[in-house]
C-alpha cells in the first residue's frame, strides 16, 4: 500500500510540474501579443514626448492625478469618431484631477494640428516621432487607450473605439480620491 501511495505521489508531482510549466508558457504566449510588457496593475512606463504646444510632456509629472493615454492616427476612423466625446469628458473631468494626453503615431505636426482643428477638439497632444513610446506600450491596433490611476498604475487597457459612456466610466475609475 505504501509503495502505491509513493507511486501516486511521484506521478502526481511529475504531472503537476509539467502542467505548471506548460500552463505558464501557454498563458504568457497568449498574453504576449496583446501587451507584452504591460498588463493591468503594472506601473505605466514613464515617457517624455514633445507636444504640439512645444512643451515636453512627461507622464510622471501627472503623479497624484489620473491620466488617460490615447494612441491614434489621422487615418484611423474609429480614432476620429471617439475624439469629440473624449474632448467633452476631458473638459468635465480635468477639474477633478483627470488628465487626457493623446499620442499621435509619427505624423507631421501639420497633419496632426489640422486634424484636431477640423474636429474642433483641444486636448493636450504629443507626437511619438520615433515610435518609441508606442513600442514601450506595445500598441499594435489603434485606437488604444490606457487609463492610469494617481499612483501611476494601469487600471484599464482598451483597444478599439470607446463610447462616451465607456470614457466616463473609465475616467471615474482613475479620479483621485
Amino acid at each position: 500500500m505504501d509503495k502505491k501511495r509513493k507511486r501516486s505521489i511521484t506521478r502526481g508531482v511529475i504531472l503537476a510540474v509539467l502542467v505548471l510549466a506548460i500552463g505558464f508558457t501557454v498563458y504568457s504566449s497568449l498574453t504576449k501579443d496583446k501587451v507584452e510588457l504591460l498588463t493591468v496593475g503594472d506601473t505605466a512606463p514613464d515617457f517624455e514626448l514633445v507636444g504640439l504646444d512645444g512643451n515636453k510632456h512627461r507622464l510622471s509629472d501627472y503623479r497624484g492625478e489620473g491620466v488617460m493615454l490615447n494612441f491614434w492616427g489621422t487615418w484611423c476612423e474609429p480614432c476620429k469618431r471617439e475624439m469629440p466625446a473624449m474632448d467633452r469628458q476631458y473638459e468635465v473631468f480635468k477639474d477633478q484631477g483627470v488628465n487626457l494626453l493623446t499620442i499621435n503615431i509619427a505624423q507631421s505636426e501639420f497633419e496632426v494640428q489640422n486634424f484636431l482643428n477640423s474636429l474642433g477638439v483641444d486636448f493636450p497632444t504629443v507626437i511619438d516621432k520615433t515610435r518609441d513610446v508606442r513600442d514601450a506600450y506595445n500598441i499594435i491596433d489603434l485606437p488604444a487607450s490606457i487609463f492610469i490611476d494617481p499612483n501611476g498604475k494601469v487600471v484599464k487597457i482598451k483597444t478599439g473605439e470607446m463610447s462616451e459612456a465607456d470614457i466616463i466610466k473609465n475616467m471615474e475609475m482613475i479620479k483621485p480620491e
Binding site: 502505491k4 507511486r7 501516486s8 506521478r11 502526481g12 511529475i14 504531472l15 509539467l18 510549466a21 506548460i22 508558457t25 501557454v26 504568457s28 504566449s29 497568449l30 504576449k32 501579443d33 507584452e36 510588457l37 512606463p45 514613464d46 515617457f47 517624455e48 514626448l49 512627461r58 492616427g73 489621422t74 487615418w75 484611423c76 476612423e77 503615431i105 509619427a106 505624423q107 507631421s108 505636426e109 501639420f110 497633419e111 489640422n114 477640423s118 504629443v126 511619438d128 516621432k129 520615433t130 515610435r131 518609441d132 513610446v133 513600442d135 514601450a136 499594435i140 491596433d141 489603434l142 478599439g160
Partner: protein, 552 residues
C-alpha cells in the same frame, strides 16, 4: 494482486512478462510464444501495472505509444494548415478589422473561414499550444514509464536463465561439445568472448556475455535532448530572452528599434545594386533583366543616455555606424539587425508650379515635403500657397463628402491648396490629387501644375536576439547522440549454461543486427567447439516454405 510470484520464488511486479530472476515466461501469452518478446526485457511497463486512480489514468494516457504517435501526426497535419495562407503577423493591416478584411478580400470565402477559425494566427492559438504541450508531456512520461523499468531490469540481470526462457530465444543451441574434453568449455567461451569485447559474467555453470548495453539507452538519451530543446523553446516566452521583430525605416528617418529598448536607428541610405550585365535568354524568358548584387542599408545606431525615458531623443549617443548587407547584420549586445526587405522610390516630395491657366505664366514653384508638410509656402509678398488639408494616402470621399486617408504613408497624396495671387488676394481653393483636380468654386484662374517628385527608399530590417541558442545547441547535440547510439550500436547477449551431463545450452539475443551476433557466435562456436546454434525464425520460415511446397 500486488505481485506475480514466479515458480522460482521471485516476486515480479504485476504486468511483468518474463521473470526478472530466472527468465521464465509468466503470462499465458508469453508461455504460448515460440520466441519471447524481449521488448523492455519483459519488465513491467509502469503504465501497464495499475490503472486505478485519476493520476494513473492520466499517466497511462500519456505513456501510450499510440497516443504519442497520434499526437505527432495531429500536430504535423495542423501545423501544415498554418502554411496555406499568410499568417496574420505578416499582414500589413492596421487593426483586427483590417486583418479580417484582408483575408476576405484576398482569399474569398475560404479566407474568411480561415480567419474565423483562427488558422491565420495558428501558432498562437490556445488549442495549438495545448496540442504541442501534450506532445511534450507524452515524450517525457513515455520515457519515464519505459526508461526506468528497462534500466532496472538491465541492471539486475541474472546470469542463469531458466530453460523455458532460453528455449524461447531466437538463437538457441543445445547439445554436446564437439571437443574431447568438455570441462574447460566455459573458460574457452569466456576467453573468446572477451576478445570480442564482450563483458562476461559467470555464476557456477552459467555464463552471460554482454556487449553494447548502452545502446538500449539511445532512445531515452534522444528524448532527453528533445526535452532540453523544448525547454529552450519555452524560454523564448520569457522577456529578455528572445526577440524576433521587424521594422521599416525610410532614408533620413530615426526610429526606435522595436524589441531593443533604448536604442534608435537612423537610415542614412539604402543601396540596391545590380550586376552590369546584358540579360541572358533565360532571364528574358523569366521577365528578369538584372541580377541583384547588393542590398545595403547604411545606418547609425544610437543609444539613449542612461536613465532616459522612452520618447526622449534629445540625448542620443552614437554607438556605431554600419553598413547592413545581406548576411552581414549589425550586431550589438547580442542583438542582430538583418537586411530583409526594401521598397524603392517611395514618394518623399512633390513639386508644383503655380500656373496661370490661361497664359501659362508660372508665378513660382512650391515643393511639399510629404512627411513634413508646412502650413504655407510663400513665393513673394503678394503670392503664397496655403496648404489647407493634406491626405497622404487619399482613398476617396466618405458619405459626408470629406476626403479620406487610408494610411499615414504618402502612397497617393492629395492636397487642398489655397492659392493667394495678386489677382485673388483672398485665394482660390483647389483640391489636387494625382491625375485629379477639383475646383470647388468653379473656375479658378490659377492651378497647381504638377512639376516633379523626389523619392526615398525604404529598408526592411529584422531584429533578432536569442539567448537560448546554447540550450538549443546542447539539446540538439544530445538528441543526435541518442540517435547515433540507438542506431549504430546494438545490445548483444549470449547466455550459456553447461548442464550436469556436460552438454551445453546456449541462447542469444540482440535488439538489432542479428547478422553480427551470428558472426560473433560462429567464432565462439568454432573456438570453444560448441554445438551448432539454430535461428528459430529461419526455421519457422523454412518450415513455412516447406509447407507451401507440400501444398503445391
Amino acid at each position: 494482486m500486488e505481485k506475480q510470484v514466479c515458480v522460482c520464488g521471485h516476486e515480479n511486479p504485476v504486468g511483468t512478462k518474463i521473470c526478472a530472476n530466472c527468465g521464465r515466461p509468466l503470462t499465458e501469452e508469453a508461455k504460448s510464444q515460440k520466441i519471447l518478446d524481449m521488448k523492455y526485457d519483459g519488465s513491467a511497463i509502469r503504465s501497464k501495472t495499475y490503472n486505478k486512480s485519476v493520476i494513473d489514468k492520466i499517466w497511462n494516457f500519456f505513456s501510450s505509444v499510440k497516443v504519442g504517435v497520434s499526437l505527432i501526426i495531429i500536430t504535423l497535419v495542423v501545423s501544415s494548415l498554418g502554411t496555406i495562407l499568410k499568417q496574420e503577423a505578416f499582414v500589413d493591416a492596421g487593426n483586427e478589422a483590417g486583418r479580417a478584411l484582408y483575408y476576405e478580400e484576398n482569399f474569398g470565402t475560404f479566407g474568411k473561414i480561415y480567419y474565423a477559425l483562427g488558422f491565420s494566427d495558428l501558432y498562437n492559438q490556445l488549442w495549438y499550444l495545448i496540442l504541442v504541450a501534450m506532445l511534450g508531456i507524452s515524450i517525457i512520461i513515455a520515457s519515464i514509464d519505459r526508461g526506468f523499468p528497462l534500466h532496472k531490469s538491465l541492471k539486475n540481470q541474472r546470469v542463469r536463465r531458466h530453460e523455458s526462457f532460453m528455449k524461447r530465444q531466437r538463437i538457441f543451441a543445445e547439445g554436446s561439445v564437439t571437443a574431447e574434453d568438455a570441462s574447460n568449455t566455459l573458460d574457452a567461451v569466456e576467453e573468446k568472448m572477451k576478445k570480442l569485447n564482450y563483458k562476461v559474467r559467470r555464476e557456477g555453470a552459467a555464463l552471460l556475455a554482454e556487449k553494447g548495453r548502452f545502446a538500449r539507452y539511445g532512445p531515452y538519451i534522444n528524448h532527453v535532448g528533445l526535452i532540453i530543446f523544448l525547454i529552450g523553446v519555452l524560454l523564448h516566452k520569457f522577456p529578455g530572452v528572445y526577440v524576433d521583430d521587424s521594422m521599416w525605416i525610410r532614408e533620413g528617418e530615426i526610429r526606435a528599434i522595436p524589441g531593443m529598448e533604448g536604442y534608435f536607428l537612423e537610415n542614412k541610405e539604402f543601396i540596391f545594386e545590380t550586376h552590369d550585365n546584358d540579360p541572358t535568354t533565360a532571364q528574358i524568358q523569366q521577365g528578369v533583366n538584372a541580377v541583384a548584387k547588393n542590398y545595403q542599408t547604411n545606418v547609425v545606431l544610437y543609444k539613449q543616455e542612461e536613465g532616459s525615458l522612452p520618447g526622449q531623443t534629445d540625448n542620443l549617443e552614437e554607438v556605431k555606424e554600419y553598413s547592413i548587407r545581406v548576411n552581414h547584420p549589425l550586431e550589438h549586445n547580442g542583438y542582430s539587425l538583418y537586411q530583409m526587405d526594401f521598397r524603392l522610390n517611395e514618394l518623399k516630395q512633390m513639386s508644383f508650379d503655380l500656373t496661370n491657366k490661361e497664359t501659362g505664366d508660372i508665378l513660382g514653384k512650391v515643393s511639399v515635403d510629404l512627411r513634413n508638410p508646412k502650413k504655407e509656402y510663400v513665393i513673394d509678398d503678394n503670392t503664397k500657397v496655403e496648404l489647407m488639408e493634406f491626405y497622404p494616402d487619399f482613398s476617396g470621399f466618405n458619405k459626408a463628402g470629406e476626403p479620406q486617408t487610408l494610411s499615414p504613408n504618402p502612397n497617393n497624396p492629395a492636397f487642398i491648396f489655397n492659392m493667394i495671387t495678386p489677382e485673388h488676394p483672398d485665394g482660390e481653393i483647389s483640391f489636387v490629387a494625382i491625375q485629379q483636380t477639383v475646383e470647388p468654386a468653379g473656375n479658378n484662374t490659377y492651378k497647381m501644375a504638377f512639376s516633379g517628385i523626389d523619392t526615398v527608399n525604404m529598408s526592411g530590417l529584422t531584429i533578432r536576439m536569442d539567448k537560448t541558442i546554447p540550450i538549443l545547441g546542447i539539446g540538439g547535440i544530445i538528441f543526435l547522440l541518442g540517435v547515433a547510439i540507438g542506431s549504430y550500436w546494438n545490445h548483444r547477449r549470449v547466455w550459456i549454461e553447461q548442464l550436469a551431463d556436460g552438454k551445453i545450452r546456449l541462447a542469444a539475443h540482440t535488439n538489432k543486427n542479428w547478422f553480427s551476433i551470428k558472426k560473433d557466435l560462429d567464432a565462439v562456436t568454432e573456438h570453444a567447439k560448441l554445438p551448432q546454434y539454430i535461428d528459430q525464425l529461419d526455421d519457422e520460415k523454412e518450415s513455412e516454405s516447406d509447407q507451401n511446397k507440400e501444398e503445391k
